[in-house]
Symmetry: C6
Subunit: 74 residues, 6 copies
């Protein structure tokens, strides 16, 4: 499974994303992803390590600033 | 709804944008967006956390340096 | 008006540009812009906040490292 | 062997990856790679120098934020 | 004159380049430039402000990490 | 000679590379380069200034995170 297909397979699940311009992680339900790995997350929150520090709701993340995507297990 | 369509659906609304080269957030009315997620915001301001610290007016933001886009709720 | 057209509409005017690799702003007359938002500014200067700190003359700015473009009002 | 083919030749092996937005290295089994050098690693861990500090499991790494890829020897 | 043509017009002259991953400026004779603004400089040196601190000789600079290009006047 | 051809002309020679996400330089024999300036180096080492601090062996470097490429003279 190619990396992009791996990400698409996570649609509907909660994922954790590390961004280049963010010290903290973003966690939310993956609603959609395009070929540039731009992501739409719903019910998103910001996590500092294991702790939820801010509720964000709907967010769009720019694909080229993504560092790491991972299924989230609470 | 794909990420880009999600952003397009916010045209006419006030959004908050985090950029890679900016410590603070940018908040303004989304006037237009293109396929690279370049954004044109009107009545834009710079926010440090919850506080408006600078009024910017019309700004253009370069898509590839966007980290996060979010509907803004005051 | 799309973001790129918004930038093109500023040709001949003085603009302020924030770059990813520059702590300070660059201010100059916009001479030209291409599809990648590469910019040619004439009579450019470096600004630290409100203060002009260095005169640069003709400069070319690489589009993908631009964060923010704004009409400049002295 | 071109750089991309070099990476493809490591599929099935454990590799170490340095990312722009990560202080530490990521080590895992290379499952797949695409033309943008996006990577899918399984059994991935985070390494601080020689020490494993966090177990990550399945991760997708964005190609344009990769700095260095190297076969991993424990 | 478009930004890329502006850079091409500097071939044969000494230019100063600011890069994203470099604290200092690079100064050298522009030998060639391509559509991505990759640059080949000869007789290049590293400058810290006004002071030449290191002689580099022939260097290739990656276009997408260029911030600013400027004719150099000693 | 265009920048990319300049890099190709260094195949088989030892080069020094500065990366955006690396404080130190990488030095190794250039085995191959593609159109994105992705590089494959063999017998690579990490250098802190003039001192070799780590032996890396075979490495692949992502082209868009390269800042500077230079022939290496010990």
């Amino acid at each position: 499974m190619l990396p992009n297909q791996m990400v698409k397979s996570m649609i509907g699940r909660v994922i954790r994303v590390e961004m280049k311009g963010e010290e903290n992680s973003l966690v939310g339900k993956l609603e959609s992803v395009d070929d540039y790995m731009n992501l739409h997350l719903s019910n998103a929150s910001e996590y500092k390590g294991e702790n939820k520090i801010r509720i964000l709701g709907d967010i769009v993340l720019r694909g080229n600033n993504i560092v790491l995507i991972q299924p989230f297990e609470e």
